[in-house]
Structure formats: structure tokens, C-alpha cells
Assembly symmetry: C2
Homo-oligomer: 344 residues x 2
């Protein structure tokens, strides 16, 4: 049975912990809020569960808690930021702000961050731009865990992308997806429960498709659509790793907090038509698709609807944490002499 | 048994036919070359087989062969083109040229085309930019044929994207993919052969997964990665259909030559680092991934390698056309009093 926590209490805990780890208060706040936002949206893999990995990274000197974040290059539409090896949340938030302000002035803005660690759930950055009535696309690359059948080693990360469109007065469209068929977490869950996994999720160490969760954990994840998702993961690896210079997957040390680069593209939505025309059409679009005939029990959902529903639910009922995650947080509380998160 | 044709002979045929249909010679040339390029790359669904659909569209007054292509809007980085309801090849080629020239001057260029018909294989436009040592991403939207399980009607097109990176002195990386697990053509092939199709390709008219090719043809295609590919198809529909104003899938008349909009983004590759650094890294990247240990018989291939190999092969041996496609071309030749394509 999970325990439930108010988002504010989890934010308080994260902020205190990160501050003890050496992050400036303002950074601790941004990181902690982002983690809890992920929990609220049901993306628990990117929520407070990461705190113990992050503290581990800081202790080992692999994450810089007190960085000198610098703008390395800048022109009319582009900003390149050096994250000084800190967690990506703060530099990526800054990168997003820069891209938004350039887009406001100029129509579009592009920002990149290199020399950073994990920047968390990409939807967060895209939502930042969507709140300003803009389109955004964000990508990030990670260490390899995807391969195609026959490969004996993973060569590319799950390399997520997030894309967002504002919809006035209604749920914005926010797509946030990794290039693997399923997240690695699903293999871990199946393994714990002693259940097989469906064909098409993963490969074993020999590059053969497997339905054994433990074999899959030692093996690799399969990309969506075979060579298609594989190709998209490669594209993201090249953009973040090579074009920006953040380092590509095979050069990234495997850990729960590693990352190559972060890239965000932001654009105003009035380049071809007025923003009002855009808004009218997108409302009509959603309405039209929502009225598709479906079989009983099927819902027509746009990307972000489930996440918004969960956010409402969890704002009311609290964020559920499983016992394992909670006990990790309790350990951290003891170690850093802060108050453990109090359940509802 | 297929017949083989020299690419030059097919180009000659296409050009003459299109000119007879009323296209200016220069337009006929661009369209015909693009079709044959698709055949050379093995993308036969986008090759000369389309000529009979196009001539049909022109005859019915649905495609304008002699358009007044206009630049509707333009700024430092953006160009919006009105295709005057002609086939998309010429306006999309112009759009790509504009994006390249803006990128040369300014770093990036974005172009959109609306009011157009089919613009063919997207790889073509991306290759245009890659030849100029630039990164490119192109998208287009079409009438619906994708749905998720439980949907009784398709709501979004297979909406392809193509992405390209130059690799000096070697095969460039060109990813060109639709959001369906397989192309509709594969259902037709299975149906002709009386074979079942794998689970995961398509739905029947009731929105249930089917392995019956004929049911699938009357039904819908499944997207890659479930909601992921579905979400990407929606994103492309919104960008081309709503942001550009080309019309979204559900508004597009279903035909073999319909299209909503076309969008291309082109960028120089020296925004963060020098182009030489980019080139060095991407060569190293390809080498490193190519040396992944694989099981016997597995090849590590980057997007575009198979297509380049096929191009070499077909340049030498000719382009194979099945009897049905050839007999369609012969019919067109008779109807428009031009010389039918001569097999090798």
C-alpha cells in the first residue's frame, strides 16, 4: 500500500535536502518543484524517487551543486549554455526562458545546454513555453539502452522528446515520450512480480527478443516502430550530443543522473496566420477528433489529458509513494538531519 | 516478373506525360525527377506509380497543372508559399530553396507551403539541404488512415517526417518515416497473396486488431508505439494543418494526391561548434556505432544506407516495375500519345 503526501510537503523535503547537498536555495526550489510536478503528472520515474540518485551523485563529486552557469554563445535567436556539470533543471529552465524571450522579440528562439546532468521530465520545459502561448519542442539524450534485434549491446539512449501546443481555456496538448516501447521501469515491475513481459518490449544480451523480464533487464529495450524509433533516437543523439557538443550516448557514463545535452526550440504561433485563427482551429480540431465513433469503454484522449487528470487527482488526494521510495527518503532525511516527509 | 527501366527513360516518360497534362516543362522535370528518385531509393510507393493518380487528378480538375505559385509572407527566417493547388513538388522545392538561402545568410530558415497537392517523398527536400551541408527536418500531413484500438474511424494521417544530416565524404544520414507501423501498400500486397498480416499492423472497421489483410484494408493502420506515434502524427497535423493553415487531416479529401501542408526547417550546423567539429564527431559516431557487436547476419545500418545501396544497384540494373504499374503507364502513353517507357 502506498503512502500519500501533499505536493507541498514533498517540495519542502526536496528543497531542504538539495540545499543540504549544497545547491543554492533558488536551485533547490526549481529542482524540487520539477520533481514533484513529475509525480503529480504520474511520471513517477522522474519524481522524488530521483533524490537518492542525485544525492549519491553529489556525494561522489559527479554532480556540481553550486555551478557557475554561463552563456557561452548567443545571437538573435540562439543561446548556448554551459551547465557547469550541475543537474540540468536550472540551466534548462534558463535555456527555456531565453528561448521564450527571443521568440517573443523575434518569432523563434532556440537554446542548447551542454555540460549538464539530468534535467528531468521534458514536459516541464515545454509547459513553460506553452504558458506563454507558444509552441515548443524539447529533446535530450542519455546513455545507451536501446538496440535493434541482433545487436549485442545498446547503442543509443531512450532519448525523449516533448512537444507542446497551447489551447486557450482548455488542456494544452503536451506530448512527452521516450523512443523505447516501454520504460525500463516496467521491466523492473514485471521482474518483481515474477511476471513475463510481452514480446516486442526488449531483447536479451544476445540481441534476441525475450519475454523474460530478468533477461530483458540484463539486455536492451526495443525502440518504437523498429528502425523508425531507432532512427529518431539517433537523430536526437546527434542534435544534443554532436551539434550542441553535449556528448553522444556512447560517451555518456551510465547512471541515473547522466545526460548529454538539452535542446529546446520555441516559436510564436502567428508566423503564418493570426494566433486567434490558430486557437479557433485547434479548438475545432480537438472537438472533431473527440467526436470520433469509438467502441464502448474507449476514450479519445489527446496527449496530456491523462496527466492533467492525474494532477487534479493528486493535488486533492496527495502523491502516492511506494514503501521502497518512502524508505529511501527517510534514509536521506536521517543522513542529512532534515525532517522526513510526513504522510497525509 | 518485373521489367527494368533506365531512370533516364522513366524520367523522359514522366516529363512528357506531365507536360501533356499541362504542367510547364520545368515543373514536369522537377516532378518526374522526384518520382524516379523515389523509385531509385526503393520507395516505389512514391515513384512513377503515382503518375496515373496525378493524371486522374488533373483530368478531374483537382490538381492545377499551371499554377501561380506565390510567396504569401516572408521575413528574415520564414517564407510562406501558396501552391495554387498544384502538385507539391515545385512549391516544396522552392520552399526548400528559400529555407536554405535564409539559413545561409542567417543560420536557420523555415518554409511552409499550403494549398498544394502531393509533394512526394520527403527525403528529397531534406537531401536538397543536406547537399548544402545543412541539417533539415521536413513534415507533411495527409488525410486520415491511422487510429488507436477502439476507434471506429481513422482520425489522423500517416503524416511523415524526414530528417537529414550531412556526413562529408560518406552516406548522409536521412531518416524518412511515416507514423504507421507499416505502409498501407503492405496490406495490399498481403491481400493479393492471400496471406495474413502480423498482429500490431492494423485494425478492422470496429477498431479491433486484425490479422486479416482484407479486414485491415477496410479498417485503419496502427501507429508506431501506440499513443506515441499517434501523438507525433497529431503534432504534424497541427503544424502543417493549423499553424500553417494547410488544413488538417479530417478536412482533407481522401485521395492518392491530397495533402494538407508542407513544412521544412533548415539550419546551419555551426551554431554551437564549428562545422569541422561536427563532421569529425559524426564520422566518429558512425564508426563507433558500426562497431557494435552483433549476431551473425545482422548489419548495423544508419537511416539511408539501404536506400543508397538500392540507388547504386538500380542506377546500374535499372528500376524494376511490376506488370501492373507498367501496364498503367502504357495506358497513359496511349491516352496522351506519347512513347511508352522502353524496358531495358
Amino acid at each position: 500500500m502506498p503512502l500519500y503526501f501533499s505536493p507541498i510537503e514533498l517540495e519542502r523535503f526536496g528543497k531542504e535536502l538539495l540545499t543540504k547537498l549544497g545547491f543554492p536555495i533558488r536551485h533547490s526550489e526549481i529542482i524540487s518543484k520539477s520533481l514533484v510536478l513529475a509525480n503529480l503528472r504520474g511520471v513517477d520515474s522522474h519524481g522524488v524517487v530521483r533524490l537518492s540518485y542525485y544525492s549519491d551523485g553529489v556525494e561522489k563529486g559527479l554532480i556540481n551543486p553550486n555551478p557557475n552557469i554561463k552563456i557561452v554563445k548567443e545571437n538573435q535567436y540562439f543561446t548556448l549554455i554551459d551547465g557547469d556539470n550541475t543537474l540540468g533543471y536550472v540551466p534548462a529552465t534558463l535555456a527555456t526562458e531565453k528561448a521564450i524571450s527571443k521568440a517573443k522579440e523575434f518569432g523563434i528562439g532556440i537554446s542548447g545546454v551542454r555540460n549538464l546532468k539530468h534535467s528531468g521530465m521534458l514536459a516541464k520545459y515545454v509547459m513553460q513555453a506553452v504558458e506563454e502561448k507558444m509552441f515548443a519542442l524539447a529533446i535530450a539524450n542519455a546513455s545507451p539502452n536501446i538496440a535493434l534485434p541482433g545487436f549485442k549491446k545498446p547503442v543509443v539512449g531512450t532519448n525523449p522528446l516533448a512537444i507542446g501546443f497551447p489551447v486557450d481555456g482548455s488542456t494544452p496538448i503536451i506530448l512527452d515520450m521516450a523512443m523505447s516501447v516501454v520504460a525500463r521501469g516496467k521491466l523492473l515491475v514485471a521482474s518483481k512480480k515474477g511476471l513475463p513481459i510481452p514480446k516486442g518490449w526488449a531483447l536479451n544480451e544476445n540481441g534476441e527478443e525475450t519475454t523474460d523480464a530478468n533477461e530483458a533487464i540484463r539486455g536492451m529495450l526495443l525502440p518504437i516502430g523498429g528502425y523508425k524509433g531507432f532512427g529518431l533516437a539517433i537523430v536526437i543523439d546527434i542534435l544534443c550530443g554532436i551539434v550542441l557538443g553535449g556528448g553522444y550516448g556512447l560517451k555518456i557514463q551510465r547512471s541515473w543522473f547522466s545526460q548529454g545535452g538539452f535542446l529546446i526550440f520555441v516559436s510564436k504561433l502567428d508566423m503564418a496566420r493570426t494566433y486567434e485563427e490558430y486557437l479557433n482551429d485547434i479548438r475545432e480540431y480537438i472537438k472533431e477528433i473527440k467526436s470520433t465513433p469509438v467502441s464502448e469503454g474507449t476514450r479519445v484522449l489527446f496527449p496530456n489529458e491523462i496527466e492533467e487528470e492525474l494532477t487534479c487527482k493528486r493535488m486533492k488526494e496527495g502523491v502516492p509513494l511506494d514503501e521502497e521510495t518512502f524508505s529511501e527518503l527517510v534514509k536521506l532525511a536521517k543522513k542529512y538531519s532534515i525532517k522526513e516527509p510526513k504522510a497525509l
